[in-house]
Symmetry: C2
Subunit: 326 residues, 2 copies
């Protein structure tokens, strides 16, 4: 049976998004650490999306969506426990639009603060997907707000994919082509976007997804060919607890080489190395790519690997406390 999925994004959508976003987002740096390279036996280039607007790659997709709203739209809305909410709030404020974000009441304080700081309204709900969807539906009924979903959306996938176009350009400027690109996968917006762009721009590059073993729906979906929708996530990487989206899965199964999982211990160790060695304040979800390089060493040995650091927003004292307990 072949179900037709509407609105699948293409590589052309990624390139159009890059044009649209030019000058509105940062071209984030590629960073290296000679100490880490020596220790890991690989040449690692960190793509610093924690230095992106709003501190996460999510600014790309949100801005791309907001720049393509139906004429007359004056309000956007979404549900999010994390960076997508802040990104949409920022993108809406840049265009002078109103924005409401439905957030579970247990969302990290740093993420609530960010949404409020960009001038969006927060509507709190119980911390379940059902409550989030019901609250958002009610809001749309009341206000007519245009919904910008966090990942299962062609505009979002295309926007996130612009990071890959930058990676290809930055590697060329330095005179090399990467062997692999590793990106974290939660809902799959980032990984699907990278897969689309890489297949078009540099098909010889292996694109790998990395996710916590405690939220391994993407790997199970990828390997079985059937999208898993019933996981109970258990991981410190709060950005990766979501389940792979429908469009995201459709793109990823065609455009990505494999998905690997990493342990919680590996995520914490990678986080500690990133904080200590690169001095970059990344959030736990962003450490999953480096954890994959450490836990699946044979795939990366002597290779040029771009690891996407996806974001840097967290309640620092909480995460540092977890590290201190190790």
């Amino acid at each position: 049976m072949n179900i037709q999925i509407p609105d699948l994004p293409t590589a052309a959508d990624v390139f159009a998004a890059a044009e649209r976003l030019h000058g509105r987002i940062h071209r984030t740096p590629l960073m290296t650490s000679s100490g880490l390279n020596e220790w890991l036996g690989a040449e690692i280039y960190f793509k610093c999306e924690h230095l992106q607007k709003v501190g996460a790659f999510k600014a790309r997709g949100a801005a791309n969506a907001v720049l393509q709203l139906p004429p007359g739209t004056d309000m956007v809305a979404t549900h999010s426990s994390g960076n997508h909410g802040a990104a949409l709030a920022w993108a809406a404020a840049e265009r002078g639009l109103r924005c409401t974000v439905v957030m579970p009441d247990n969302a990290p304080l740093a993420k609530k603060t960010a949404v409020a700081a960009y001038g969006a309204e927060i509507r709190y709900c119980a911390p379940t997907l059902a409550a989030r969807e019901a609250t958002l539906a009610e809001l749309v009924d009341q206000t007519g707000a245009h919904v910008v979903p966090p990942f299962d959306d062609a505009r979002i996938i295309a926007g996130q994919g612009t990071v890959a176009q930058e990676i290809v350009g930055q590697c060329r400027e330095r005179g090399f082509s990467p062997d692999l690109v590793v990106a974290p996968v939660g809902g799959g917006g980032l990984l699907a976007g990278i897969g689309l762009a890489m297949c078009a721009l540099a098909p010889e590059v292996t694109v790998l997804g990395a996710e916590p073993a405690g939220a391994d729906d993407a790997q199970r979906s990828f390997r079985s060919g059937v999208r898993v929708t019933d996981q109970v996530p258990d991981t410190i990487a709060d950005g990766l607890r979501t389940t792979l989206g429908l469009r995201n899965f459709a793109v990823i199964r065609e455009r990505v080489s494999d998905i690997v999982t990493v342990s919680e211990e590996g995520i914490l160790l990678a986080l500690q190395l990133l904080w200590g060695r690169t001095k970059q304040m990344v959030e736990p979800s962003a450490a999953v790519g480096l954890a994959a390089v450490m836990e699946h060493g044979s795939r990366f040995r002597n290779k040029r690997v771009v690891v996407v650091l996806s974001g840097g927003n967290m309640d620092f004292a909480v995460v540092a406390g977890l590290l201190a307990e190790r």
Copy 2:
């Protein structure tokens, strides 16, 4: 009474150091945050010395000293509770020299680990200046090691000053000249070096030192004209607890515009902003410059200000605990 101080460094020594260090250290980036600029009403450029080799500007002075050792030297030594020890260990290892660092047994774990990781030997002592000096003297007697002091040394001051030459070049590349440069002051190696270089390269730029009110010997020395040597420091900024050196004071009183102090509360707030907004993992001592911009706002309003982020090495669980208590 005018006491003659031997071996005072000159601006020419800074320029010679820059030649000597070329290719051996990083040209660290200048970083900006539009959010912080808007909030503070100033145009701030962070000079990222936490991204320097060994995670601190101290690599500059240590390497400059090690590259000018008397012929036949095969071992260096110092006493340090912090970044100078790691920097000397690194610089010695780069030249194939042995290195021993005398450290107080209560030094931060991260700093002990760094010294050991660069292959130096650690000799522990009681946490007093007298114990440190006695242990180092004994070591020199036993081994004939060449001592590289942490700050009161012409080679060290000249090496640290190379950061100012980079700042001037990087600002010119971006088409502007800074109004002020703010650097933390502990022993005074960094501030003296910057003062020397700035007076020669861009004398119109105001050079300011910043230090914790709980370790304000530099300000008291600067304003009274008599070097204070008897302070009991009380500050979270562990890199700034030392007392201003003799040569350092002699240079600073001639080449620096003023020294301002900041509160502990201000240091913690600045640290939190740096971690949260710039996503840079800097240590408490490095936050003192931004704290000065916040607490002495009228000096900086609408100005172009280079703030030197001096280092990024700390036990982050300890620092996170302090932030959590606020």
